[in-house]
Symmetry: C2
Subunit: 456 residues, 2 copies
């Protein structure tokens, strides 16, 4: 229906909500490269993956041909509790910028986990429950994924074990308390509860942990106890599949008002939000039905797409997970300590990596001080205090809207506002106090970490 | 429209959103008693109030005859940014409780201020702007109201000065940072910036402040600088008027689906949320058009309605504001230090006090440990981590739904979920660690603070 007046927020009716996930791999002529078994260097099979991950999720991980996958009813029921997420017309931002562009954002922050992570957490918890598991293990850095998973596990009555990077555990006690509210066991990592944790503690007694170490502990905990599996909140193709709900809803909302997007922008860390948002639109582009300009936005301090290499690499620092072909900075790469904006993963979803390599989307990197400037500007104008991660997309959306002001083009710009920044106020404080700085890794630094990627 | 299937969330269309506030005083046969000038003991007039408050807000404060007041377009525009707030059908809670009752909650927490306070903040900021003021001053305890006001002032380009109780300023740095994000000046109170602050600091050098002291500083700052006025986030009749948007929307949403509420429940501190929610329903009751069972829920540690006296009292500890006839515990009453659940005001809105005195609503007090139990239960079942304040209403809504299970009655229960608890995790931590205790003031304690109420 075209020319209908567009409200500030488009909420789909329950009857209009998508009932299927869209698997973009099905429409890719050149598929993402398969995961490899780190021991053999050969494509990993379902049985091998099944030791770590839930059966049904393994199937989804390996399925690159089924286009639409029905969402099980219990997941649809849970989605109804916090979805549909609104597609917001940023009238105030447009007016403030004086741009002829029409700006829309898909807001995924209106739930207690504070981000889009819940979309995949509930799916992964559901399949674990269906398999008759006792519980799941995972790692969390800042705590967004851990919070989402604890909510999902609480809903299905699953035990939830979260290994939280020790420095975050200590510096972000509030995220930890949210997880405890949902009954999760939160362990600061490295811990005495796993062999790998004890080993790391013996070697580095004062360490405050890292995501790589927490992954190793979570995987060990899942594979050494009966009835447990490991789950992961980004990077994997199954996660992109679940997150396609974002794009499916956004597309339905735009179509309801006869709007065709021109530019679609998302922040990119592991790629789950960006991949989820663009998937159905990318499908149209792959099938030659429509064209879109996709922009992935990453931090200049962790620039996997813009400065990484497209090679096979370890997904985790501990090198226990399968190998993935992806844009990577090397699995030993860690962003500089002054980096506050999230999106700190060294690699990128293999699906997005392949799409990027085929020239189907653009990537840009932005500096964190300009990201926080955009965040504060947006908070004041649109009334939502954004997560630092989401603010990468805001920054580029504003840049594109300003370009439209200069050219006079009334483009339709859509971006993903993945979450709220209520648990990131330490970073905002640093910004307000003028203590936030930028860091861009040198070519030598990147070459050093990239030199350690495996040869396959 | 009856018998239409009720979705999990009812969002009104923009065209269905209320365009008027409802003034419940217009339908009261016995009006709330007038505010008194503390110097003369006589009803205070518009001119006298105008030294402290904005002109248009003074008019609203004194107007007890106009039933419907049009909401100015700029406020309606701002409302569109975060409203309509959904009326949620608590299907999951009903199922978990095994109750035949139908439970609905009006969720006001989906905005960056995290509560309903924004509804009045934007109205007060608008009228201040219209009057050509430079800025406004206010006090804040936990920071909810200060956050809401800073957002509203940022929108209209007003200077916003928040006096934040010093212990909150230090213990809740994140709320402070949200306010700074919106450009507010946040001063820990008592401060050296006012005469009353300096006096208090000289007398009590180590004090961590109190709400009463912060009010005194904010009022002084407003009345001694040209172009400033003082604004308040609860208690006042103008605030109830603005908050009637909650009830107007809830009523429209229920009517859209042919639902008639039986019980309406809200937490009560100063009364703004409860008053706003029940106003239009109370109007029907006052006009004899429908009957409802209203329940005000307050903390057992600060029980103004259930254990206070209905007399004229000071609205603030500093005794600079007008006197109000209300249910009060005495202006020197301060809840015990172990009280973590908000709603710590010694008195109650004069409108609600009068309605309660006429027997038009019930009041109950609940203990904070049972409030946090209800909060955690609700978070797990409905997926929203509630503010401690809102959890008072949750507790009683659950109680009433359990009663329905016992009697087999399918009552329609509506309660106000005023906000989220993301900035209250210290209290949740205390609860998880088993360190939360209850305190109920003794009769002697209440008699002592009540003995200091003025004689009028």
């Amino acid at each position: 229906m075209a020319n209908k007046e567009i409200p500030y927020k488009i909420y789909l009716e329950e009857s209009e909500m998508p009932r299927e996930w869209y698997n973009v791999r099905a429409d890719m002529k050149i598929k993402p490269a398969p995961l490899l078994n780190p021991a053999t260097g050969k494509p990993i099979n379902a049985e091998e993956l099944g030791h770590v991950f839930c059966e049904e999720l393994v199937k989804q991980e390996l399925d690159d041909t089924t286009r639409l996958i029905p969402i099980p009813q219990p997941i649809l029921d849970f989605y109804k509790m916090y979805r549909p997420a609104p597609l917001v017309r940023a009238y105030c931002l447009e007016k403030k910028l004086g741009t002829p562009a029409h700006i829309y954002y898909k807001f995924e922050g209106n739930n207690t986990s504070g981000s889009h992570k819940l979309n995949s957490a509930i799916a992964q918890a559901y399949y674990a429950k269906e398999q008759g598991l006792v519980g799941v293990t995972t790692e969390t850095g800042a705590g967004q994924w851990g919070t989402a998973l604890s909510m999902a596990c609480s809903y299905f009555g699953l035990d939830c074990n979260v290994y939280m990077v020790k420095c975050s555990y200590e510096q972000k006690p509030f995220r930890r308390e949210v997880m405890r509210t949902y009954g999760a066991k939160v362990t600061p990592s490295p811990s005495e509860s796993t062999a790998v944790g004890r080993q790391i503690l013996a070697e580095f007694p004062g360490t405050t942990g890292s995501l790589g170490c927490a992954i190793s502990e979570a995987v060990e905990a899942a594979t050494t106890r009966p009835g447990y599996r490991y789950v992961l909140g980004s990077v994997l193709s199954q996660v992109l599949l679940h997150q396609s709900i974002i794009g499916m809803e956004a597309k339905a909302a735009l179509e309801k008002y006869g709007v065709k997007a021109d530019i679609i922008i998302g922040c990119a860390g592991g790629g789950s939000n960006l991949g989820g948002l663009i998937s159905p639109f990318m499908g149209e582009k792959l099938r030659g039905e429509a064209d879109y300009h996709f922009i992935a936005v990453e931090p200049a301090s962790c620039p996997s797409l813009t400065r990484g290499k497209y090679v096979y690499d370890y997904c985790d620092t501990g090198r226990v997970c399968p190998l993935s072909k992806m844009y990577t900075l090397g699995s030993s790469f860690i962003p500089a300590p002054n980096h506050a904006g999230g999106l700190r993963y060294h690699g990128m979803s293999s699906v997005l990596s392949e799409l990027y390599d085929q020239g189907l989307m653009e990537a840009r990197s932005v500096k964190q001080t300009e990201v926080f400037e955009a965040a504060e500007y947006f908070a004041r104008v649109e009334g939502i205090l954004p997560a630092p991660e989401s603010s990468h997309a805001i920054k580029v959306a504003i840049d594109e809207a300003v370009k439209c002001r200069e050219t006079g083009e009334a483009k339709n710009i859509v971006f993903g506002l993945t979450g709220t920044g209520y648990f990131d106020m330490l970073a905002y404080e640093k910004f307000h106090d003028g203590k936030m700085t930028d860091y861009i890794p040198t070519d030598d630094e990147l070459a050093a970490s990239l030199s350690k990627t495996p040869k396959f």
